[in-house]
Symmetry: C4
């Protein structure tokens, strides 16, 4: 086996991986998780000022590591029949969402050593490091598939929620604006109340105080339960179908002739 092939098999997560692949996978996931912790803990002011040197060192190590990982992936991807052409195949792979995330997880950070003025933007860029774990998150695949299967229905129900939200916010704005001009200041501002109510989050930072506002708000709160039953029902049935698909794949037999029926 060539080194390139060995590299490819090591980097690509497969069902039955070899020892080397498992070790690398464990190591990569560890680095990503450590990075996620670093991103999270770096936002805590006390920790950042205290362990600044440690964060910088780990940052340095991460950039090098992610760069090497990216180069290795681009180098070895031609072993995959889908991306077998040396130039075209590699460019095609580089346009894949996961490859773009991999690139953005290290590339912008080289500039942090050149110009510190854009530190804030670099911090936002570390979001891509969080997304690197997505390659290993199986639940994401289930979620993605349900979202794809039910895309049309979900878009329709999202538009419908948006429509109802606008109507509700329109009415509540006119009901509450005079009593609370600073809180129910505009329809977009009232939408914040509308979302908090129909999702039943109910922060309580915006609450109707007039009798009319409370009456309408109460009706909308009850209606909200029905409204969100639409996407929740779509998602639930989507998950249910996906999770039970193996069972329903059982081979059925025709009761008349006894032969198997493949649907």
């Amino acid at each position: 086996m060539t080194i390139r092939r060995r590299l490819y098999l090591t980097l690509e997560p497969t069902e039955k991986g070899g020892v080397l692949e498992r070790i690398f996978e464990f190591f990569l996931i560890s680095i990503i998780i450590l990075n996620i912790f670093a991103v999270i803990l770096d936002s805590v002011a006390e920790l950042r000022s205290k362990h600044d040197a440690l964060f910088v060192k780990f940052e340095f190590f991460t950039i090098i590591f992610f760069t090497l990982e990216y180069i290795a992936r681009i180098y070895s991807i031609v072993e995959n029949p889908e991306y077998s052409e040396p130039v075209k195949g590699r460019l095609k792979y580089m346009r894949q969402p996961m490859a773009i995330i991999d690139l953005l997880a290290f590339l912008p950070f080289y500039f942090v050593f050149i110009d510190l003025r854009f530190l804030r933007i670099f911090r936002l860029m570390s979001l891509f490091r969080l997304f690197k774990i997505a390659r290993y998150l199986h639940a994401l695949k289930i979620f993605k598939r349900v979202l794809t299967d039910r895309k049309e229905q979900l878009v329709l129900s999202f538009l419908f929620i948006l429509f109802v939200l606008t109507i509700i916010s329109f009415i509540m704005f006119y009901a509450e604006h005079d009593a609370q001009p600073d809180k129910f200041s505009s329809i977009p501002a009232t939408m914040w109340w509308g979302i908090a109510t129909i999702t039943t989050v109910g922060y309580g930072d915006m609450v109707p105080i007039t009798a009319l506002g409370k009456f309408l708000g109460g009706l909308f709160a009850i209606a909200g339960v029905g409204l969100l039953a639409l996407p929740a029902g779509i998602l639930s049935s989507g998950f249910f179908e996906l999770l039970h698909v193996d069972k329903s794949k059982e081979v059925k037999k025709c009761p008349h002739c006894g032969k198997e029926i493949h649907e």
Copy 2:
């Protein structure tokens, strides 16, 4: 094809529309969406004062456009076999909810140029412009059909919720009124707490403070989950049936012997 027929086919949204119909549909939806945005943004005080001239111009254009659209619809509707009679058919169409919304989306606004004192009422009237999008909202049809199919059950569960809400508010009023006479001031006022609790919105603007009130409130909060499981279950099963009805209605045939299989 007569102009009237062409007009009718252009205005009426059908499954397989021609190019002209699609262009008009796209244009009309754009105008409506722009109007929705105008209604929303007009409520933001800073934007209104700043871009007043623009809003007035767009308002002028909208009124003319919606008037012409309405006249065209009334003129061409006789092409529809359901409304074929020149006078009776047109009057019948004008009584349809969508036609009334179309009319109210422009007619009252002619008076805004005559008398500005009723500006507030005109603003409320712009709600009908939001509703014009309903013609193109497919999720609304699904929702409407589920509501129609389960009407009786939903009305019953709504009455039941109202009944339980009244009982809960009655009890909580007597439990909390003495401790918080300004908040739990009456049974209708306590219903606001009741709705926020059984829908689990929980704004927090009204919260029991006595031991008895908290004990009863806690019981009602847990019971509320069960209570709203009633309409949520009805709606969920309604959506489920509607979304799966096509699949289950197909008659299956054995591919070997050709006979139908009724499971």
Copy 3:
């Protein structure tokens, strides 16, 4: 037909009622609903002081009416085969929950004219007038049947929720008591937070402020979703079964001998 029999048929709500029965039913429901409104509006201080004379007159009328209704029911109930014995049957009927509610809806109010000191207790007694509507609330029957069918499972899940609630409140009390001794003052006090969290009501009057409290509280909030999925699932499946029971009652046939199978 005797007067007693006619009276019985008029009072008892049946599927296919005669004209007299329908008129009486409509009249009785109207009186009850007016009473519900009276009970609710009587709690609004401004309305009570303003329309005091009206409330007293309506109260007087209601007591007389409910008394006559009760006497008529007791007199005519012997027409029902279940309560046919003149004394024993009537006493058996008087022990039925609905008959007790009917009695308590008027009897205690005779004393209000004798001694006004117990006005508060009389007000609480008017709860029984709200419950009189239960006879005509069909959704209540569905709810009652689901509660009866799933009684054991619901009691078990209620005990389980109580158990988890106690454990959660125990832990949160020790996590937050030192930081907020006035809010998380005891385990029973912490249970109020626990209920608000696991039902996702989240009033916000009690919120953990320590890092440990927030970490544990966050875990409990997520776990709460799973916890209440237990009774919600039991109730949902109960409603589903009840609402679809007619469909499943379709006669099935044995595929071997073709005869009908009554399960």
Copy 4:
């Protein structure tokens, strides 16, 4: 029957218990429930100071009782074929979770009479007394079995929620930190907002105030409904299957020809 066997049959809860077993079970459950009440009420400062002597006496009685119960269990467990070996079997039983809970429910409390400095730790230890009731909580078994059956799916969806929670908190931190540096102080602090939002608890102690924060927060609140539909759906379908498994496993027979019908 030997005393040891009788003791074993008395202590071990079986389906068809004898009179002695039922009396002991009732007595033990009563002691545990009284202990749960003692633990709860002991946290109420007024009650503790008032009834201190009573609590100490009950504590003394409980320790003795739980000690004797534990010794009796260890002594008699060899009657169970699974733990029949005198030494090995007893040690194996002592490592069971319920046996550890039984031990920790009394052992640490002996030290309370020696050194009162660790009173706080002893109080925390009383959590194990709450857990003793678990042996008799049937709903816990259902919950446990569903959790075991769906373990993998639940862990995956929990990791997915954690991932989305981190992404959401990352974004909201950068959107709100400048406007509210004291509330949205770090990503871990923002996670508290994230959990309150995606679970729809919505305490309202942390609420975005910027336009961007409200827009993103609104999107995340709506998305949260879909996100928690994942574990809720898994648990619901798990409970459903468990509760209906007995019914569906029955083999149906045609009552006419006696042959089995496999649907």
